[in-house]
């Protein structure tokens, strides 16, 4: 029982961090960032390259992932999303663009980093074993704690910094924020940069545990979509809740349903559909996103 909760918490922390970036981008620009998973993968590969190929410390790799992804996010917003959002008749048109970017990043990742599974060797050795009731390797604990720390920093930033407040205003009511003198273009760009940076950071963190390969992008995006749907799209607390709920569901589901074998994920997904049908705006979302 304790083990299931510990697994769920660890999964939840990493999921929540992925979902945060996605929900931030969604709330600011109403763009469902199909390329989010690819950004995560890219971040993982950057950390891998810095740590394993160049032999630099892990923290440098993590910083490199954050910086490179932030720049990538800013560039994508300025030169791709902004012009298309301005000129398209329907909001959804950005979906094609986002999917195009996802494919493009997939191609770039394949050409730059190759097709093989990559991983950074464990940064901490050893396994925490509490009387066989909770077994958790130390590196997992470390990454889990780091992820929660990052979530806290992010929330503090959004609540107390000027930029964070401006972005929240933007998310609430774009028009009103603009009238109040918020520089929409600038903060949209900052928002996407921040969202992409978060994706890159998670990638960098997880490359030490799960490794990274070019195929992880798409499925990661979809999982992140699920989380923000559970919590409510565009709501930061919702993304965190969604991440932890999905993490718990997987952990509990896999244990409870393992006897029935192949249907575990079928049950998880079907439950989600029923949940969303009953509560269309997720746990904390505004109706109709």
């Amino acid at each position: 029982m304790e083990q299931i909760i510990a697994n769920g918490l660890y999964l939840g922390a990493q999921y929540a961090l992925i979902a945060l970036g996605l929900t931030l981008i969604f709330s600011l620009m109403n763009v469902l960032n199909f390329a989010h998973g690819q950004m995560y993968v890219f971040g993982g590969f950057v950390t891998y390259t810095v740590v394993v190929q160049l032999g630099l410390p892990f923290i440098v790799g993590l910083l490199a992932s954050a910086v490179i992804l932030a720049i990538m996010g800013a560039v994508i917003e300025k030169f791709l999303f902004a012009p298309v959002v301005r000129r398209s008749k329907r909001d959804e048109s950005t979906m094609l663009l986002a999917a195009g970017i996802a494919f493009f990043l997939d191609a770039v990742i394949l050409l730059l980093f190759g097709e093989k599974q990559r991983g950074v060797p464990k940064i901490v050795n050893g396994v925490f074993n509490w009387d066989m009731r909770i077994i958790m390797p130390y590196d997992r604990i470390l990454i889990g704690v780091l992820a929660i720390l990052l979530i806290v920093v992010f929330i503090a930033f959004m609540n107390y910094s000027r930029a964070g407040r401006a972005m929240r205003a933007l998310a609430q009511d774009r028009m009103a924020a603009q009238l109040m003198g918020v520089d929409v273009a600038r903060y949209s760009m900052l928002g996407l940069a921040l969202g992409a940076m978060l994706a890159g950071l998670v990638g960098g963190l997880l490359v030490t545990i799960t490794g990274v390969n070019l195929g992880m992008g798409g499925p990661t995006s979809i999982k992140a979509f699920l989380m923000i749907m559970i919590g409510g799209a565009g709501v930061i607390s919702g993304a965190i809740a969604g991440g932890f709920i999905l993490g718990m569901m997987e952990s509990v589901g896999l244990t409870v349903l393992s006897a029935y074998g192949d249907i575990t994920y079928l049950v998880i997904f079907a439950t989600l559909m029923v949940f969303l049908a009953v509560r269309p705006q997720g746990l904390m979302g505004k109706p109709w996103g």
Binding site: N7, Y10, Q117, G211, L214, P219, L254, G261, Y265
Partner: protein
């Protein structure tokens, strides 16, 4: 941009692209061999190691002055098609191969693709070498597919038997991704284990291929306390994580799989925890590799920057095609001739030390010779490399 200019440009671009494939190669002594498989997306590693081993071997043969088939000398050209692991695309790939006048195609890499291309291959007179195991593809009335490696229902029993006799394995557990290929392999694995009298303590735990944390997946499996954990049809991306999670959960038994793995990937992903991991490989372990194999690895590494151990088995299909064509030059554009040669064909195996032979097998499994004879080399991962555990044969 003016719309008219844009239109013109696009028309021009379209026309150029359309006409490119129409331009025929002037050289007439080119033998095209096709590859239809997955070289992008999550399973890219399978197809890429395939395609690259073919390209590396072809470049090498061409450098040596080409291949003499009958009284003509050919340069080998590899025509590759990325099916994105989509069976619908794979059909398009097969049609494209037919269009290019190709009669011998390596791939596809997965079950659904291999089944989907069958009509196209049979209608167009193409022999294809899939890396997928369903018996219906290779048993009569099907006759155009040749299994390009050792199937898990052949290697599995050999591995389990060896481990039973030498390591005292009694209880075995299976985990598989919830996809067609791994699930089918798990089913035949369980059947094989039961036939040997092993106790299958866990056989229905599955995982999504995109799982990032395997601890919850493996928890119930480990609690069943097996002596041997079989990772059915595991992809090279998932293998290190599964091994790591199992070991971190305190599992101390053996772990094995029937698919080919890459030592570097295991080293990075699981480090010391992968010690003793058993997988099926080709013939590049030092004990077995001939000088040709060693040079192949060198050339591959030079061409693409990094070797992939999965290529050890994947290098064979092309060799079989070329050698069989040499044995019967009439088969070069006639697969019926090829099929006639299959039954009697035999040639020395250049990749293995000793007097190993290239020949077609599969009578026991398929009732006809529709499988390349690749040495069944079972490897053990030790200190960053594979070591040969034992070598078996498929009949």
């Amino acid at each position: 941009m003016h719309k008219r200019t844009f239109l013109k440009l696009s028309a021009l671009a379209a026309a150029t692209v359309l006409s490119l494939p129409l331009m025929a190669y002037a050289e007439n002594a080119t033998l095209k061999i096709g590859f239809v498989g997955v070289t992008s997306g999550p399973a890219a590693a399978w197809g890429i190691s395939n395609q690259r081993s073919m390209e590396a071997r072809a470049a090498w043969l061409n450098e040596l002055g080409g291949v003499k088939i009958g009284d003509k000398t050919y340069n080998i050209e590899i025509v590759a098609f990325d099916d994105q692991k989509d069976p619908k695309r794979a059909i398009a790939g097969m049609e494209k191969m037919a269009q290019d006048g190709i009669h011998y195609v390596v791939g596809p890499n997965v079950d659904d693709g291999a089944a989907a291309v069958r009509p196209a291959a049979e209608q167009n007179g193409i022999m294809y070498f899939p890396y997928s195991f369903p018996k219906a593809l290779f048993s009569p009335p099907a006759s155009n597919a040749i299994l390009g490696m050792v199937a898990n229902y052949q290697s599995g029993p050999a591995i389990y038997k060896y481990l039973m006799e030498n390591k005292g394995v009694k209880k075995v557990a299976f985990v598989a991704a919830n996809e067609s290929d791994p699930l089918s392999q798990r089913e035949s694995g369980i059947a094989a284990a039961q036939a040997l009298g092993l106790d299958v303590v866990s056989g229905n735990v599955t995982y999504q291929v995109d799982t990032t944390d395997f601890t919850p997946v493996l928890l119930p499996v480990i609690q069943a306390a097996p002596d041997l954990l079989v990772l059915s049809g595991v992809s090279p991306a998932n293998a290190p994580q599964l091994i790591r999670s199992a070991r971190e959960l305190g599992y101390e038994g053996l772990i094995s799989t029937e698919t080919a793995q890459d030592a570097a990937v295991l080293q990075e992903g699981a480090g010391d925890l992968a010690e003793g991991f058993i997988s099926v490989g080709g013939a590049s372990t030092p004990e077995l590799a001939s000088d040709t194999m060693k040079e192949f690895v060198e050339r591959y590494t030079k061409m693409f920057g990094e070797y992939n151990d999965e290529s050890n088995t994947k290098v064979y299909a092309l060799e079989y095609i070329i050698e069989t064509l040499k044995a019967n030059p009439a088969a070069i554009d006639n697969v019926e001739e090829y099929k006639k040669t299959i039954d009697t064909f035999e040639a020395p195996n250049p990749f293995m030390k000793g007097d190993a032979k290239l020949k077609y097998v599969g009578m026991t499994s398929f009732g006809q010779k529709r499988q390349v004879s690749v040495p069944l080399v079972v490897n053990e991962y030790k200190g960053g490399k594979f070591e040969t555990l034992f070598v078996g044969q498929v009949d």
